[in-house]
């Protein structure tokens, strides 16, 4: 095999892997998007658990108080 053939073969191999590299980049982005759901879940759970009990009791004064306290505690 000549040096030129060898160089061509290496170049072809690198080209073949380009789509794979792009796929890995996309997968990394998608994984990161999923990781970000952790904070979203925590934020929603925090709001719901702090507010649900007074809402369930239909206690408007208590809801107002909890909202004010929650806002101050963010």
């Amino acid at each position: 095999m000549t040096t030129t053939d060898l160089a061509r073969r290496v170049r072809d191999r690198i080209r073949e892997r380009e789509p794979l590299r792009e796929r890995v980049r996309q997968l990394e982005t998608e994984v990161q998007e999923n990781r970000q759901l952790n904070r979203r879940i925590a934020e929603l759970t925090d709001v719901v658990t702090e507010l649900l009990i007074p809402l369930e009791a239909r206690d408007q004064d208590r809801v107002d108080e909890v909202l004010a306290r929650f806002r101050a505690g963010l």
Binding site: N38, R39, A42
Partner: protein, 516 residues
């Protein structure tokens, strides 16, 4: 033994130093300001290694003064001479507005180090740190231990490190799901606030406690989550790797300047985890080498809502703020005749120029921004102008903040005014802007007034990026909004400098008709 090496040059661009892999210490005017490791921080040039000044020092490098460069122990002097830097003729000194000496800390910020702190103030810091540990234990239900520089100082030298500038606490969470760790951090924040602490949230897993000191300074006590996920140990800031629970609990005890603190069970193992196997050798220029995979995980799990907060606070507390005009923007004067009697919420209020102008005619105004620097400016200006403005924080990107402000504005209907806010938001925060608009505007019939730089974003955009008009229109409509007015043409940027393509939108969020 001292020596003066001719190879060292100090100039406006930085330092030319010998190509060494060991740390050097820089003093200006007889005070420590910075530490560097030439081969790590600089680039090889003819005659040595060129190390640029750190960005944080640049504003202070104008004038004449003595610069001294030594090895870490101060035994070998590489440079000691009078220099003139920049164009100033004043005295070269790195100090804050009150004259307190500052130095560059290990994350590149200017801070006041313990070497420049009186013993009595140091005691205040240590007593405050102890109080934080007690409050975390008794009121937040987590056991915190002393860590990072304070632990290193206690174990290696029996005192605070001279070049350290704060104290750091960690708590080992029992949780192994990042969502639960964030929730725990929220509960901790509430508990500490109820104990009177001023708390700043830095991520879903760490907060800063602000401890006012008798010398007028405010010391930061960091409270970091530490946890195991899938066998890997994570500890905020950005650390990750192998460290078993048994190295941390049950705690041991260390003493610092007469104050007792809980410490990891095996402090040496923790210090090797943090600073590597050579932690016993002093290195004031130390920088962490965190595994990138661990940083990616921590970024994804816990961060994202305050990525640019520091840059905005810098703008609002620095000289560039003066470049923002004081009077109303052209956009605000276009919006004003369309407002009727409803109050206005100015989202991303910045310097408050428009909020204060709306309020000056007696209109009820809420000024909202995510930057505490901005909120302080608006409060100060409102007080000086004698106008009433309700100033509050809104962090688009933190859903709790968006939902709370949305609920508040739904009960107390406002118009929403947002000039050059769209271009400051990432995709997640933009989604929350539309959520906020829907919550706030449906019940009361107010309108969203938007102005933003139109077009595709480019790498040369600054803090305010261009945004495609179609993308904004589609997002408004997808969230139930109706675009009533849309124009794109020449306008002004946030400094009122000409911009060839500025989009103005007025949108409403009508109540959907019942389908049943």
């Amino acid at each position: 033994m001292s020596r003066i090496a001719a190879a060292v040059v100090v100039c406006d661009d930085g330092l030319l130093v010998p190509p060494e892999a060991t740390p050097l210490v820089v003093e200006i005017d007889g005070h420590y300001v910075w530490s560097l490791t030439p081969l790590r921080d600089g680039r090889p040039v003819s005659g040595g290694v060129r190390v640029p000044w750190p960005d944080a020092l640049l504003p202070h490098l104008g004038g004449r003064g003595r610069v001294r460069i030594t090895d870490a122990a101060g035994a070998a002097v590489l440079y000691d001479d009078e220099v003139r830097l920049g164009s100033g003729d004043g005295a070269l000194a790195v100090v804050d507005r009150s004259g307190h000496r500052l130095s560059v800390d290990k994350v590149g910020h200017l801070a006041r180090s313990f070497s420049a702190t009186d013993a009595s103030v140091r005691d205040e810091i240590l007593a405050g740190t102890r109080r934080a540990i007690d409050d975390l234990s008794e009121h937040a239900g987590v056991a915190a231990y002393l860590n990072y520089g304070a632990l290193l100082g206690a174990v290696r030298e029996g005192r605070m490190l001279a070049h350290d500038s704060d104290t750091d606490l960690c708590y080992l969470s029992a949780h192994t799901s990042p969502a639960d760790i964030v929730l725990e951090s929220y509960r901790i924040t509430r508990a500490l606030r109820s104990r009177g602490w001023r708390v700043l949230r830095m991520s879903g897993g760490d907060v800063k406690l602000l401890l006012p000191l008798s010398d007028g300074r405010v010391c930061h006590i960091d409270v970091f989550a530490a946890f195991h996920v899938g066998g890997t140990f994570f500890q905020l800031g950005n650390r990750s790797g192998d460290l078993p629970r048994e190295s941390i609990v049950p705690f041991s005890t260390v003493t610092l300047h007469g104050h007792e603190f809980p410490a990891p069970r095996d402090p040496e193992a923790m210090l090797a985890f943090l600073y590597g196997p050579r932690w016993r050798t002093p290195d004031p220029s130390f920088r962490y080498a965190d595994p990138p995979a661990g940083v990616r995980r921590l970024d994804g799990w816990l961060r994202g809502f305050r990525t640019e907060m520091g840059r905005w606070t810098e703008l609002h507390t620095g000289p560039r703020r003066r470049a923002v005009p004081r009077g109303p923007s052209g956009f605000a004067t276009w919006v004003a005749p369309q407002l009727g009697s409803l109050p206005v919420a100015d989202l991303g209020t910045g310097t408050g120029r428009d909020a204060l102008w709306f309020a000056s005619s007696g209109r009820r105004v809420t000024a909202l921004d995510f930057s505490r620097g901005s909120l302080a400016v608006v409060r100060r200006r409102a007080r000086r102008c004698g106008v009433a403005v309700d100033v509050d924080q809104l962090i688009l990107g933190e859903l709790r903040s968006t939902l709370l402000q949305g609920a508040r504005l739904a009960r107390d209907p406002h118009h929403l005014h947002a000039r050059h806010l769209v271009g400051c938001l990432d995709a997640a925060a933009l989604d929350q802007l539309w959520l906020l608009a829907r919550m706030a505007l449906r019940p009361g019939g107010g309108r969203l007034f938007l102005e933003f730089a139109a077009g595709d974003p480019t790498p040369s955009d600054g803090l305010v990026r261009r945004t495609p008009v179609d993308a904004v229109r589609r997002a408004i409509e997808a969230s139930g909004g109706v675009v009533e007015h849309l124009t794109t043409g020449p306008g002004e940027d946030m400094f009122d400098l000409p911009d060839p393509a500025v989009c103005r939108i007025r949108a409403a969020w009508p109540i959907p008709k019942e389908t049943s």
